[in-house]
Symmetry: C2
Amino acid sequence: MSEVKFNPHVSVDCVVFGFDGKNLKVLLLERHIKEQNEFYNDKKLPGSIIFETEDLESAAYRILNELTGLKNIYLSQFQSFGDPKRTKNPRDIVWLENTTNLKIGRIVTVGYVALIKINSLLQLKNEYADVVWFDVNKLGKTRLAFDHVQIIQKGLAYIRRKSDLEPELLFELLPRKFTISQLRILHDTIHQKQSDVRNFQKKVKKMPYVVALGEKEKNVPHRAANLYKFDRKKV
Amino acid sequence: MSEVKFNPHVSVDCVVFGFDGKNLKVLLLERHIKEQNEFYNDKKLPGSIIFETEDLESAAYRILNELTGLKNIYLSQFQSFGDPKRTKNPRDIVWLENTTNLKIGRIVTVGYVALIKINSLLQLKNEYADVVWFDVNKLGKTRLAFDHVQIIQKGLAYIRRKSDLEPELLFELLPRKFTISQLRILHDTIHQKQSDVRNFQKKVKKMPYVVALGEKEKNVPHRAANLYKFDRKKV
DNA sequence: ACAAAAGTGTTTGGAGTACACCCATGA
DNA sequence: TCATGGGTGTACTCCAAACACTTTTGT
C-alpha cells in the first residue's frame, strides 16, 4: 500500500455477475462503518482508485484477482460515471479517506462488468469474508454506497444488450458441464422473458460451439438431462 | 478561464461525425506547434479537461457548444481511455501545459460520440478557424495527437454497432430533407456494405418515422427523387 | 437522343413462434 | 405409481436476399 502511488482522482468499479441456477447475482462487499456508538452497514461494489502508472483494465483485473484469486476472467468496460456529486456523501468520503489514507476530492469511476462461474468462488480469502452474492432483483431492498445502484443497473443493461449480440458470453456464467435447461433459464433470466422449451432446444442444437458430452446428470429425481460443454474454438 | 477551476486528471474527447453525401467525416482541430524554427502540424479531437464541478456529459456539451454553437446535439459516451502512456509524448505535454497553464500528469479521457448535420457548421467561430472535416477512411494519412487515432476508431466501431440497433440515429447525419438514396448511401457507408436498391426502398417504406414530403429534388440532371423527412415522434 | 440516377414486384430460404405429448428417474 | 422435469416435430409467419427493367430529367 505504501510502495505504490495511487491516483485518487480516478477509480475502477467492477460489477461481477454470477448465476446460481435460478437468479442473476452480483458480487458485493459488506461495509461496516462505525458512527458514534452504532455501526452503519451497507454494501459496495468491489473497486479501487487506480495506481498512478496502471492501465484501467489492469486495475480492474487487479481488483478481481485480489478478490477471487481467479485469472482469465471475462471483463469488459461499459461506462464511466463522473457526476461531481457522486463522491459527496460524507459517509463515503470518511470511509474513503480512512481506507486509503489519502485526501479525497472528486472521483470519476470507470465501470467494468465481469462474469464468473459462481462456484469458482468457494474459497474467498479471509480478508474478504464479507463478500456476498446479491440477487440483482432485490437491489431495491438494500443500501448501497456511492452511486453503486446506478452503476449496477447500467452494467446489467450492458450485459443484456451485449449477450444479445454475443450469446457465447453466457457460458462464462454456467458451470463447465451444463444442461440445456440451465442455459435456457440463464438466457431467460438475462433477457427477462420465457422461452419455449422446444424452440430453445432447436436453437442450441444449431450452435456449433455447444457440444454434447454424451454424459447425463446424476441423482436427479426425474429424467436425467444430457450434459453439454462450451467449445470456445468453435465460436 | 481563470474563474473556473479545472480538474487536470480527467478529460473528455468528442468524436464528432458528419456525412457529406459520400463519406463519413470526423471533425478535427489543426494543431500548430512551434518547435525551434519550425512548426509541427497535426490534428486532434475537440476535447478538454473537465471543470472540477462539472459532469462528464456537461463537459462534452460544453466542448461541442463552444465549437459549433449548436444545441441539442446527439451525444453518447462510448469508452474511456486510461493507458498511462497516452499522455507521455513530450510534444503533447508541452502543448497541454501551454494551453491550460497547468502542470499536467496522467490524464484519463472519456470518449463521446456526437453526430451532426455537416452543413449546420458553416459558420464556425473565428477562434476555431482551424477546424476540418476529415475523411474517416484517410486517417492513416495524417498525424494525430495523443491516442486520438485509437479513440476515433473505437468511436466509429461504437456508432456502427449502435446504428444497427437504433437506425433512427442516422437521421442526425442527414439534412432535414433527404432522399432515400442519401439515406442508403449513408447506411452503406456506415455498415461497409452495398445494399440492394429495391430492398432498401421496401425497408424504408416500412419505417413509420420516415415520412414523404410530397416534394422532389430540383435541378438534378436526372429524374428527381422524392424528398422525405424524419419524424422523431413516430420512432 | 442520350446519360444518369430514380423507382418498382416477385420469389425463395431461413429464422422465429406457437403449440402438446411421451419419457426417464428417484422417492 | 406418482411427481418432476427432459426431450421431441410440424405448421405458419415474417424478414432478408436475389434479381432487371422502365421512368424522369437536364443537357
